[in-house]
Structures are given as structure tokens and as C-alpha cells.
Symmetry: D2
């Protein structure tokens, strides 16, 4: 992973604008950050460790700001911070580099396909001034890809020099296809990704934007589940949270609440009888229980919910499944329970970013602009060991980041919930 990020070309001769010059005065542009800073007893390392390139402004930049046209798209489901990212990219391009031609393309990759007749929005500081105070995305979004050739045609026709793709791993895979086609044509267009996954499951970045907001906004639902569970005899509060493949939101939300008695995540298998046994014991002792389940948990337990257009099985909803399974189990036991099920998903996804995520979005977007202006491409920005880094997109999408059940995070979960092994 020590390869340098893709570059459009050798660096041009354009120099960084004066307001930025002071910022890079003493910077070591070739410094890198180790992937793994752990020292193990007796371990000797003779190879250069895997590392990532540090983000930041560069002395020489590739694009001439006054001639540059940049564009932004937002793809996939909503995530707190999208408008922060759009705003920050616009502000840094405008004020720090002097770029005056910034387009907001509408509805994700559809905005690069002229067949949809979506008119781009001209972005400038006035347009974006207050957008970070609202959830959603002012550009709109869509799911799925468009034809690569059509999109590169559009980029060339519109004379777009830089494309910022804000989206999840599907989006960044799509961006890599664009990079390849652009490169094949010998065009000089930078494609820079800002990874967007509320699940925080992208590799090589310890954090994605919206995640901390999601953890914070999960709290009222867990509180409600707790209050509802305590208000009746044998009350069970059940909350489903985001997390298709990785249970980070559910895990941190549970730790933050400290009122969760059982956490189920995709990374740690569980048997239904063990869950029921645990619940029985808990209700005997305390007469109420709170369960948090990540949406991708227990896939093996779910009956398929029909097939989608491509013939793939659609999985049912683990939250609804568990609710019914618990009700049925205790009804059979002759000790009926009252299950209150809460699914706050949309309310969380469409919220504005909290303060912590707003800071993170700004710094991500800022570094995405620095990378783009320096002529990098085929990369995403991220955070590693507290430093902003430029990550080759190919590494970022290689595999998902997951909770390691032998990690100190999972230890904290067990310490916090007191839950036993459920296998």
C-alpha cells in the first residue's frame, strides 16, 4: 500500500496561490504515516512499514485556479454532513485557491448523464453559506452507476477539470472506472473521492463523516426503548440501528447509552435460543431489557423476503424478525412480554451533522481540495492515527472495516452490557 497515489501527470509548473504559501512553508511533503504503530515485544522489522501519504497543500499545484472548473456529486443514501462537505469544498476552492467555476451536479451520477436533463447548480459562497445547518444534500442524490463513457463524454464536454465524488464504496468503485476511462483517453481530469458511509466501514480511514452524528442521534431511541421497557412488567425495548456489514454505529451507540443489555452486530454470530435464554434470565432479575441490533446482524437466521429484480434473495428485516421471535417465544412460555420496537434510521440519516462531524467534514473537504489542486486522482481522503491521509481508492474499497471481536472495542462492549457469549 505504499504506492504513491495516482497522479494525473507530472506536477505542472503552476504555483500555489499566495494565501496558501505560508501554510506549506515548512511542510515535509513526502512524510507518510505508518498503518500500524504497534510495537510487539521482540518483533524486529527490517522492511519499511506499510504507510499512507499525508494530506495537505502542496507547493506546486497542477491546475491553474482561475482556469479551473470543478464539480461535485453526492451519491447514495443520506448521511449527516453532506452539505458540510459541499460547502467546505466550495469555500476552500473559492477563498483559498481562487477557483470561481464550481458546479453542483444534481442527483448523483445521474448528473453526469445528459439524458436526465438535470441542470447543474452554480456554487459560490453565497449559495452555500448556510447549507451546513440543514440535513440532506442540496444537490440531491441517486443510487447506482451510469454508463462510464457517457459520463466521461460529459466531463470533457463541460470542460470539468476536477470531479469530487461524495459517496460510499459503490460510488468510489464507479469513480475508479471514471479514472481509468479518463486515463485511457489521456484527459487531464482529477477524480477525488470523499468516502461517505454512516456505518464507518471503509478501510484505511479510522472514521467517516456522519458516523459520530449517527451515534449521538441514536441515543434518544435507546432512551425511549429503556423508558418504555421499564414502564411495564416484562418490557423489552428493541432498537434497530444502521450497520449492514459492520456494527460500529450500534456498538458506539450502546456504549454511549450504558443502558443496553444486549448488542447484536453482524460481526459476532449468535444463536436465537441463547438470546432467548439470556432474555429470560434478565427479565427474571430486572423485569425489563434493552436490545440494540445492527441491521445486518443474524443474516443466517432471516427467511428470505422474496427476490429482487436480479433474482437475488432479499433479506427480511432483522428488527421486525426479532420482535416477532421474542413475542412468540415468551407467549409460548406463558410469560408474555411487551416488545417496543424502534427504527430511527431516516431520522438519523437526514439530520444535520453535529459539531464534531462538521469539523471533520471541513477538514476532509479541505484536504480533498488540496489533493485535487495538486493533480492527484483515483484517491479518497481519510483519517489515520489522527492524521489526514490520501488513500488510493483501490485500497479504500478493497474490503470493509469491521469490528474485531478480539479488539478492545468488543471488550468494552462486554464490560458495558455484561452480555455473555451467545453461540
Amino acid at each position: 500500500m505504499n504506492q504513491t497515489n495516482y497522479r494525473i501527470d507530472n506536477l505542472g509548473e503552476c504555483r500555489i496561490p499566495s494565501p496558501l504559501t505560508s501554510l506549506v512553508a515548512g511542510a515535509d511533503e513526502e512524510a507518510r504515516i505508518m498503518l500500524d504503530p504497534i510495537l510487539k515485544k521482540g518483533q524486529v522489522n527490517h522492511q519499511e512499514p506499510s504507510s499512507l501519504e499525508l494530506s495537505g497543500p502542496r507547493r506546486k499545484i497542477f491546475f491553474t485556479p482561475e482556469k479551473t472548473r470543478a464539480a461535485i456529486i453526492t451519491c447514495g443514501g443520506l448521511c449527516p454532513g453532506l452539505n458540510d462537505v459541499i460547502r467546505s469544498i466550495t469555500m476552500v476552492l473559492w477563498y483559498r485557491y481562487g477557483v470561481r467555476n464550481i458546479l453542483g451536479l444534481r442527483y448523483g451520477y445521474e448528473g453526469l448523464n445528459p439524458d436526465f436533463h438535470h441542470n447543474p447548480i452554480q456554487l459560490n459562497p453565497d449559495v452555500v453559506e448556510d447549507i451546513h445547518q440543514k440535513g440532506g444534500t442540496i444537490l440531491g442524490s441517486s443510487r447506482g452507476p451510469q454508463d462510464v463513457g457517457v459520463m466521461v463524454d460529459y466531463l470533457q464536454e463541460m470542460q470539468i477539470d476536477i470531479l469530487f465524488t461524495v459517496g460510499g464504496d459503490g460510488t468510489q468503485r464507479g469513480a475508479l472506472d471514471l479514472v481509468e476511462e479518463i486515463s485511457r483517453r489521456g484527459a487531464k481530469i482529477a477524480v477525488i473521492g470523499i468516502p461517505k458511509t454512516i456505518d464507518n466501514d471503509i478501510s484505511c480511514t479510522e472514521r467517516t463523516f456522519g458516523f459520530q452524528t449517527a451515534v449521538a442521534l441514536s441515543q434518544p431511541s435507546i432512551d425511549s426503548a429503556h423508558m418504555e421497557a421499564k414502564a411495564v412488567r416484562n418490557g423489552v425495548g428493541l432498537v434497530k440501528l444502521m450497520g449492514r456489514d459492520s456494527g460500529f454505529v450500534a456498538a458506539y451507540a450502546s456504549l454511549a447509552s450504558s443502558d443496553v443489555n444486549l448488542l447484536l452486530v453482524p460481526e459476532v454470530s449468535f444463536s436465537l435460543p441463547k438470546v432467548m435464554h439470556f432474555l429470560e434470565e434478565r427479565l427474571k432479575q430486572k423485569s425489563h431489557a434493552v436490545i440494540v441490533v445492527a441491521e445486518g446482524s443474524g443474516k443466517e437466521l432471516l427467511p428470505p423476503d422474496g427476490q429482487d429484480a436480479s433474482g437475488n434473495e432479499i433479506l427480511g428485516d432483522i428488527g421486525v424478525f426479532l420482535k416477532h421471535a421474542i413475542q412468540a417465544h415468551f407467549r409460548q412460555n406463558g410469560r408474555p412480554v411487551s416488545v417496543k420496537y424502534i427504527d430511527p434510521s431516516y431520522t438519523i440519516r437526514s439530520a444535520r451533522a453535529n459539531a464534531d462531524d462538521s469539523v471533520f467534514c471541513f477538514r476532509l473537504a479541505e484536504n480533498a481540495v488540496h489533493a485535487a489542486m495538486a493533480g492527484k486522482t483515483g484517491m479518497v481522503v481519510g483519517l489515520w492515527n489522527g492524521h489526514f491521509v490520501d488513500i488510493p481508492s483501490i485500497e479504500a474499497v478493497r474490503q470493509r472495516k469491521k469490528i474485531d471481536p478480539s479488539s478492545s472495542l468488543w471488550t468494552s462492549i462486554l464490560d458495558n452490557t455484561g452480555q455473555p457469549d451467545l453461540i
Copy 2:
């Protein structure tokens, strides 16, 4: 409705404790408030208008504080403010009257039935100090009645002098049964109701506690629906809010948001084709729409969802029904829409009261205590034309308060949403 509230007996000779004496110095204990303060042109009224008794401390009280034992129960679903009411009753009994024997009975009317073996909680200022900062009810709740004879036996056995019943109209009907049986036995037990309905649909009180909190807490869901709807082409945000028979929560929540395009409430009929037509027009113009529906709306449209234990038909869920109906309609039209459906019910019901409701809860509870100590019974406390009033329970449960489609409230809804007639 001008009858005096039921009283246990003629007023005793016990005098109000000294810290309260100053409060009632100049009070007119027989003042009443008119039900209808509207003057119509040319209308002459020769009869004394209908009126309600004003709440407040009385110079002579029925119960001797140091010998009095009071008890509180909370019944039915959760509602913001339950703990405020419990706390306030306890505080006013303790500090203002010097009552030292206050029981919190567990799990609603079950707490009056010894078969359930629920142990009461001894309430005092230390126990209740911070409970208003949490949602739910520290006493627990249950639905439905218990045997009246058993309950009055328990009241007598436990030597309870005053019972505060915090609950909806079912609870207050149950309280009237208790009052009747108590009276038949010649016992001297006061039963005072604090009406609890998040729907704000109890007669003779312009407001019930928890309602304003519910309106406030509906806002994030409507905002989310709005953001989700705007984020895609042809997005429809659909929010179901409380309101079985009366749409006040949904109406005020829509007014507060000012982002709602269509409000459906139980009091105003609508035809599904008209709703679809309105949606079509709206999406053509604006490409997104926000709908708020009160849970009891459109009962006539819903297919029954099985039968309950008593053989009554259970109605389906209007929110889920509308979601599917809209999706199907536009799919058939060849112009598919994306419907995001949000049901925040539990999160609202289990929240703590907001500041406005905390004030209201305190003053309700305070006046409930004043009424109880004065020996009133078979009544609930409420607010009318800005004054706290003692309402005969029989009047309070006679019929539900509803939105009048010819009222200025409905005018405001039409002005705010711009929605047409849907019949």
C-alpha cells in the same frame, strides 16, 4: 355543567396549614369561569352561562395533613410529564400541607389489586427529586381496569385517604366507578383525576400535559421526511403522528413545521383518489412532498387487520397503508416515487416533558392537591380560558374534544399547507 364538583362530605373543620394561609387570603372561593366567552351580535343571554369552578387552595380543608395518607397511580401508555406530575403532587403534599405519608402504587390499577403483589413505593422529596428529568413513569403503568370491589377493599385496608389517578378517559371512567363504590360504602376517600392524553382530546380542558412536548418532538421527524423527500426525484416523506380520534398533535406539528403539504386527520374525511391527484400535481411542480397523517385518519379506507380477543375488528395501520397505496399508485402511473415513512410514536411518548409542559404539570398537580385536601372527589383538574379549573369527571369523559373543521385552527392549517378539499 354548573353543578358543584362532588364532595366527600360537608367541609370539615380542619384549617389550611399556615404556609398556605397567605395564598388564599383574598381569594373568592366561589368564582367560576364561563365555558364560552364569545359574545355574538344581537344575542341576549338571560340564563346564567355554563361555567366551571376555579381551582386553588381553600381556607378550610377536609383532611388533617399529618394523618392523611395519599396514593398515586399512573395508567395507560406513556406520555411526557408523568414523572413531573408524580413529583409535583409529592412536593406540594409534603411541603405545602405537611402530608408525610405518600404512596406510589405500581403499574396502574394493578397496584390496587393485591393479587399482583406489587409493592408500593414510599414517596418523599428525596425519592422524587430528579425524576422529572426523565421520561416514562417511575411507578410503571398498565392498561385496563381491575375489579372495583377489590380496589376499594385495598384502599380501605391500606387506609388511603386520597387517590390521584393519572390517566386517560378509560382511567377516569374507572375512577368514577371507584367514587361510586366508595360513596356506597360511606367511606371518606377522595379520588382526583389528572387527565393524561397526548392527543389532547379530553373535554372541558383546553390542554392536557404532554401535548406540547409531542408537538415539539414531532419536528425532527417532519424535518427528516422533508430532507429525505427533497434528496431524490419524486420523493415523498410520510410521517404518522399520534391522534386516534382527534388530530391536534398532527395539526399543531404541521403548523410548527411549515413544511407539510398535506395533513390528514380523523375529523376531516378524504378520498384516496383526491389525495393521489393532489400528490401528482405537487410532484409535477416541486418534485417532492411531505405528508403528515394522524393515526386515526381514514378509518373507512383501512381493511380490517384481524380481530382482537373480544371479536372486534382491529384496524390496520394508516401510515403503512398510505405508504403502500402511494407506491402502488405511482408505479401504475409509470412515474415511481420514493416514499420514506417515519413513525416516531414511542420516541415521543417516552420523552421527558419540555419546559412548557413541566410548568403545566406542576400547576395541574398543585391544583389537584388543593382539590383533594379540600375534600373534593370525582373530578379532574384542567385548564379553561387560561384558568385552572375543577371539572366533574362525568363531564370530562362525556365526549372527546375534536378539531372543528370550521374553526380558525383548521383555517390556519389550510393557510399553512395550501391543501385543497379532499372529498
Copy 3:
């Protein structure tokens, strides 16, 4: 007070636009609401009671919507809800009446004085769409009057037909001067006030916008004072809240919190030695205390803080004064206390309206528009006994509404804080 509100003229022949027609179908346009709906024992009333005119749309309107130009100004200090009012006036004028010419004048009455060269903002639904989600006022504000002749010249020159004045009693007095001058000139310009006072101290309206938000937003400060006071031995938390002449914000904020031990308001005198004595007792028993003081309290105790430009004495700050007085008293006593003083004023004034105030703002503004279009003038809109009313401005500014120490509100304060008489 039964005089009809001023009218520009006899009602014109213009008829209400069709979307509004249905709203007024069955309305009784001459219905009025009694000022005092209390019935006193044995009291016989042979006179017609004082009453106010009910607000609402009228069948005949004075202004022809398509030819009408309306303008809005916001004056004085910030108050939650200003943007809600601006937005609502614009929306109702636009969608309900079809008025297309709406000006937002800048910086209060300065906007009517061409010497300031403030350019008005053209208001329409796009401009105001999201402004209610922010505090402050998009129009800006200023304090104090401008020359009446200059302002009426401007109104005539700009062909403004309706002026909405959003401001406190100074602003509404200024509006009355405008009405008089307009009338003297025989001009046909309606001037409608929307009363703005966060203190809720305007006569004839039981509520002003921003008040409920202020009460709600006071809570974190009182909580903080409570936490800080409890964190140390002999801790005193002191919070100063809004209320120059009337202590409603401080009173409701204290009731909402239920953690306040002493409330000081302008309407109820207190002696400093009594306050100190109370504090001594409280600290002996509980080791901490929370005090809320309205800014206009204890004027007689304050040393003058210099003189203003006109030679009037400027009063010092009661919060700072009390802080120092308490510290000095207990230092002398040899039992030093730790006073934590919090003044949240700006944070509250500049916040956005909460849900309850947003509803209220919408309905106020809506009724202001109905009144204006019907050709009323020299009046403000308000709420009385739960009904929106048109109040002659002369009545609204005659005297301030204050807390009556013999009212049930003050009883509630005494019940809640447990504070004694301090005189």
C-alpha cells in the same frame, strides 16, 4: 375597549379571493370575546362586558391583492420567531391572497428613512422558505424612531399600501404616530402591528411570540446553576433572566425547572437582609441554593450606573449587584460561598423559535394579514382566552401586563420554590 378597531375607510367592494372564500363561509364576523370570563358569586352585570374583536378572514376586503404592495419591518432587540413572522406574512399574502409585491425593509424604522440608503429586500416564497429555521431577523433591526413625516413620505413615494410593524411597545407607539399622520393626509395605508416582547408584558394579549422559547431556553442555564451550586460546599447558582418590568420569563422558567429556591421579579419587592437571611438558612440545611432574578428586579437597591445621554440615571445590573452582595455578606459572616453567575440573555434572544412559538407566529401573522387586507389599521394582533383578536394599538400600549402577586401564578411560584415573604 369595545370600540371597533380603526379602519382605513368603509370596506371597499373587493371580494376575498376564492381559496379563502370557503374559510369564511359560516363565520360570524361580528363575534367578540369578553375580556373577563370570570363569574363572581352574586354579581349581576347589566352592562355589556368589555370585549375584543375576533381575528380572521373577512368576506369583503379593502385592498385588491394584485395591486397591493405590502412591507414589513422588524424593530428593537432580537426575539425568537421574528423570521417565522416575516415568513408567514409573506406566505399568506402570496398564496392566500395573491399579493406579489412584498418588501422587507431593512433595520427597523431606519428602513423607512431614505437617508440611511438601506435597500429593501423583495420577499417571496423562495426567499423566505427556510428562514424560520434560524434565529435573528433577515431584515435586520434598529432601536428608536425616525421622523414621522419622512416615513410617511417614504410610504407614499414607494406606494406601500400595508405596513406590518413587528416590535415592542415603543414600535407600536411609533406605528400609532404613523397612523395618525397617514390619516391626516387622507392616505389609504394600513398599519398593522405584531407585538414583540420576549418579556410577554403587552396588555390585551395573553401571550407574545418568543416568550415560550425564552422559558425553554432558560432551562440549561438554571440546570447549570444548579449543578455548579451542588458541586461545591456552599455553592450559590445565580441566573439573571429577561424581564425589565414584568417577571414572566423568570417565573415560568423557575416553575419549569423546579430547582429554583428563590425567584426575584420586579413586581414583588424584597429586602436584601431578608434575602441574605433566607440564603443563610438554605445553605445551612442544603449547602447549596439556586436563585433566579429578572433583570428589572430590585431597582430601588441598585446604585445608579452613571447617566445616559439625556441625563437619566442608568441602573446597574441587578445580577452582578446580587453576586457581589452575596459574596460580601457571607465573607463578612466568615462562611464564604461560591457564587456562579450566569446571564444567558443573548443566547436566548437570538435563538430560533421552538415549535410552540412557530405555531403561534404563523397564526399571529396570518391574522395580521387578514386584518390588513380587510382594511383595518392602528391595531395589533394578539391572543385572548385562546382566541386570536384584533386589539386597538392604543389599548395594547396603554400599560404593561404584570405578574399579580395575588394570582394563582404567584401561588404556584410559592408552592414551587418554597420561598417566604421577603419584605
Copy 4:
């Protein structure tokens, strides 16, 4: 810094309790984390890099849980998360190790001095259940040290085996004195620090609890300053935030807001004339400005505000100073400005922790317990490169962590505010 943390002694023979055994199964107890994971071009490192010991449960523990008595103190000013830490220490000791004897000592180090007659609180899961939902500290706090001999006498007399000291660098220095005296006496008492500084200025930990909450809770004040500034011509909103020596809170709060035009921190000097010049330009262009100043900024500009008991000069308040300086400057210029000054300090310090800090507090406290039970002493827990670490106290208090003006954080500030060099 590679020395092992102090230990009381060689590890005892006591084995970790069974619920914890699985947690440490595969752990490498001797793994360490590098202080600096940056790789510089061409740099070859032949020495072992500086590193810190990873936190976590250990296979062998020093104290026998059922015989262990632990105690907790909280010292210094309030900080969000104190109750989370108290709760988490109690919960992990109780449920994970089976320790049943846990004391909450009152009012900081005073609680270790019997002369104050503060009675300790017996802590258990019931007592601490909900305390994390409130700000402040249930134990109370005080500033300053007590006599070391007296405190160690008390620890021995009370047979306390483990003391958790939650406090800032003064507190941790005091803890080191205790460790020394304990060691001199050959006593077996572990002293483990949990660093508390809302300013986030302790070395060797990238984060301290309460910091993220402080950043989040600064937002309403900055918003208010922004709204107030925009509401008038030439409005200046000025917010003072925490930060005696390090401006992290002010810096992150400014980044989160994106509405700040000028940030002043202790680490970056500024001249008053340059500040005024910047303000003049800003007001000319935009007519309003928002300034955030950390409390320890511009010390060299402040006139002394008297002397304290020890004869040291007390510095004045930079916020108040700037407010007056700006007013005076522009009054002299003949272009008066309206400065609205906001100081939210207490409201932030006394708030409850947000979700992110609650997670962090739990994990800090958890690792503090693991360290204590393993017999470590003279250390504090912290976070480094995303891993929890045990830091020798002597390293943690050696010097303060500060904003490096050549760091990417300061670059972000300049990118975000657009402010120039002010020297």
C-alpha cells in the same frame, strides 16, 4: 518515555476473575504503541522509538477483588463526563471484577482530610445507575491540595487499596506526591489518575473527556453571536471560550461553526492594531463579524487585575477587555459598532457529556480499573493514535499540549476563518 509504568510491586498471584478471562485470551500484554508514527523521507531509525504501554485487562491481577476497597475523588472545576467516569469505574469494578467496597469521597482532596468531616458515599450499581444523565459530579469537588501525610494516613486508616483521582494536572501532581509517600511507607495502595481538562491540554493523550462536549456546546453561543451581529449594522459578536494555555476548544468550536471570522488563541500572538484593522476591513465588506477568543489569549495585552493572596498578579478578562477595546476603537473612528459579548463557560462545564464523550469516559474508566487491579500506580489513562494507553503520570504532567501553529489544525483554522497573520 519507554519506562514501564510504576507498579506497586511484582504482580501478585491473584488471577483475573472468570468473566474477564476470555477478554484477555489472545492479548499481547507487552505490546506498546509508538508515540510518533510519521515516516520521514530518508530518515533511518536505529533506536527503538518512544512508545507507551497499551491499556487493557491483565491475566494476573494484584488485588483480590473480594477483599479490595477502592475510592474515587473528583477535583477542580466541573467538566462534562465526571459522573460518567464515576459510574463506569463503579460498574466495571462491581460487575467485571466483583469488587463490592467502593467509596465516593466528597469534595476532592478534602475528602481525604478527616478535618473536613465529609462522609464518603458508598457506591454501587443502584447509586450510580442514572448519574451519567446529569452534569456536575455527585461527589462534589474542591480546588487545591491537602497535606500529603494526612491524606496517606487516611488512606491507610480507611484501608483503601485503590484511589482513582479524577482531575487536572494539579490533581495528578498531587497524586504523584501521594504515590511517593505511599511508596516511602511501603504501603500497597494503587493511585490511578483519570486526566480531566476541558481544555484538552494534557500531554501524551490525544483527547481528554469533556472536550468534545465543550466544542459541541459552544455552538449555540457562536450561532447567537452570529445572529446578533447580523441583526444590526456593524454588529460584532464576541464569544469567549475555555482555554487557559491551549486554544483547542476555541479552535474546534470555530471549525465546527464555520461562521467565525477571527479566532484568537494563547498559542498565536496578535497585535491589537492588527485585530482592529482586520475588523475594519471585515465590517466595511460585510457589516458584521464574529470573533472567538480563548480565555488565555493575549495575556501580554491585559492590565493586571489586582493581586491574589500570594501576591501574584491576577490577569483581567480578555473577553471583557476586547469588548471595551473594540467599542472604544470604533467610537474614536466615528463608526460605532455594536458588540455583543457572550461567555458560556459555566453552562458548558456543568453540562452532561454528549454521546461521544460518554463512550470515551466509559473506556477510560474501564482501562483505569484494569490498570488498578493489575497493581499499576502513578499513572494516568489516555488515548494515543486511537489506542488506550497507560501513561506514567510524570510524563502526563511534564508540559501542556498546545496548538502548533505549523500544524494542519492551524492550517484548517486559516482555511476556515480566512483570517490573516495578526502580528
